[in-house]
Amino acid sequence: MTAITQRAPIRRRDPRRPAWQERPKAATQGTKSGAIVVILLIILFPLYSIVLTSFSNQAAVNLAGGMVVWPQGLTISAYKLIAQGGVVGRALIVSLVITAVGTAISMAVTILASYGLSRAGSFGHKTILWFMMLTMFFSGGIIPLFLVVSALGGFNQYWALILPSAVSVFNIIVMRAFFMNIASDMIESARIDGAGDWRILWRIVLPTSKAVTAVIALFYAVTYWNSWFNILLFMPADSSKWPLQMVLYTYITQGNPLPGSGTSTIGGFVGNQQIAPLSIQMAVVTLTVVPILIVYPFVQKHFTKGVLLGAIKG
């Protein structure tokens, strides 16, 4: 009869762990998990409250005296109100187009400028860099900008929502930094072989910069998607051209009576009173965030570990 020797159970190694990495101690795992839980809570809790309030009726909002924490009276009427508006559908399309076109233009201009400034010692490099950077610190203000755009015929035109803010010097600087870290010997040997800078950019630099390209594209896309002040400035009253943010913003004050109009109500325009204004505001906030959350995971994988790395030496 063979004695069954008790052996310590072999701890299975997680196959996802790279071979060279040791197993973390239990304490480390514990702290890490604890930290993650806390972080998730402090972010998800307010988000939960926002979404819940957007689905709450006036009674629940009144009871909670503001943001709702315990579900009490649920309704989708805030969303119905917004969807029924008739303007939202069109505004959504406008937003999508502006975001797509704007990001494309911005990325083209930014990639070019970033690469153009990334070769150490290139002619005029510091001057051009400072030329661009100064615009980050000095601004004549919004009225002068308005006058310039208006003089160019941009008032109430879609291009006024794209071109004036197409260049973000911050993004150029970040991208430039990544480009500068790409193996210079690879680029140098390409140059010696006679390749022009355009080819180097297209064949060597860009394919190895997927991470930063994805990140900067995300930055631009989000800026375009969220941009609202440009609209206020350049097409304040032409609501048929408004992108989504502007339309959603008008819902924020839904249900508030006219300031300073005296004692009476003027019939018919106080909107649908049964929907809590707070609920509408929260619906707007939710609608602002949700599309980004949908798109974001797809963009994420471009700048996490395991995807194409940047400068690979040898």
Partner: protein, 567 residues
Amino acid sequence: MTSAPHLSRRGFLTAAAGTASAVAAAPLLSACGTGAAITAGSTSANTLAKILPTYTPFAGGIKPDYPSIDGSEPGYLSYPTTLVHTVSETPGSGSTYNAIAPDWGAIPRTSGNTYYNALNAALGANMQWQPTNGTTIQTTLPTLFAGNQLPDWIEVPTFAQPPGFGQAVQTKLADLTPYLSGDKIKEYPNLAAIFSNGWQQAIWNNKIAGIPTVVSGFATGVFLYYRQDILDSLGIGTPSVNSLADLYDLGKEVNDPKAKRWAFDDIWQFMCFPYGTNFTPPQYIWTTDSKGNLITTFETEEIIEAMNWEASLFKAGMVNPEAVAGNTGTAKQRFWSGQNVITADGGGAWDAADVTSGTASNKGYVRNAFNFFTADGTGTPHVALSPPTEYVSYLNANLKPAQIKELLRIANYLAAPFGSYEFTLVNYGAKNVDYTVTSDGPVLTATGNKDVDAVVPILLASPNNVISNPGFPEVTRVSAQFVQRNAKYQFKPLFYGMNITVPNDLTTADQFAPFTGSGGINYIMYEVVRGRSTIADYQSTVNEWLRSGGTKLKAFMETVRAKYGDA
């Protein structure tokens, strides 16, 4: 919600200087200078008498259930079933115009909008109604003026006039005197029925510059409200508050933070009334001292007493923390949910929408208001009138006379009195498409809720205000009776209804903030009642203001008073 623009940290880095100059950036109202003579000053009593449109009340109107007493707004318990026609011919001649007015709330669709189609058909013109967001007009209006992108017809609320607006009026907006002064207005009978103090608000520098809208006879801006049902449930019933001391005691009775119920919101805007004075910058802050010299109410004893009294509320912990933190946006919400028992708010808060929101969670919700009282309980209350209206619409100076006349005829249509056929169309849209007639009056249909946005037409031209809440006769009853009772305490503060163009170098002083220093007079008052600054700080701020332009402003206003009278 903020009226400061949303800034992305990476995008508009220099937003400080940038954003800053957007708001009320009147400098570029005349960026290149005009050279035209722009006069400071106002309109003299004589000229006023000559040009003021002759007031012609509408004959044959429906009898109000609560008639106007001492100028109070008349109240109607029900909506008329037979609609009177006040306009016999189509006002427009088929032209296209665009009109911009602020709106607070969702914007309806522009194409296929049943309301706009019906309205434009009735008006006989292709009006492009362009609402712009009301919370951000202080950014939008200056850019429109500066960039010369003014529409044909624009609404400029008095609280959103950029500094130096008086000058823009003279150069960019049409002079309506030849069309509306004196008896000429009889060509537009509905406009002639607008109260004269409203028209006075539209007169700048001896000219009729615009059309006043939503004019009120009883324009005391602020009432002190309380939750009747809460007082009932606490066994207090109808409160008897005849002095500030009474108010304080009432507060102590109802204050219960543990039950999430605070006695007061920030009631500063009401505080001038018990003291029989007016602190509503920039215009209604003048009074005379014992020698008859002009001084600002900021320099009086009363304001210091007012600040001290309200500070006592804060100190006693009777003020809702949200109000302490300055979150005025949610004040109504707090009142509806009972977190504030007593609040100060405009007259517009007392309406059907308010009842619906309040009763949503509390079936017994009842809003009521304190009758006006004096600070120490003696004497008769003196209640300063607010401006007759805060909304005046203006026409573009580039319009030709025929176009101006056409727009005035359209304005005449829009200003048809309450309960008329035209009024119903403007406010409710097309019959049976946008609204249906019920026993409570017109009720919007689903299409109507989507398409009818009467704010823009109403802010461009409308009849005198009335109190009417179809379907909620109780609200009408209580509020109409309230204004009937209290109208007799009104008085006209100095410079009432006058539009005064202040010379350039005094524009800053006119904003009531010191030339240097942080925050200005308004702000220091806010800090004093919260105990963060002292009365001494307040006084030094006032002295700073006097030193850096205030004294000169006073001298200027003295000349105005001497030359033009004081209303």
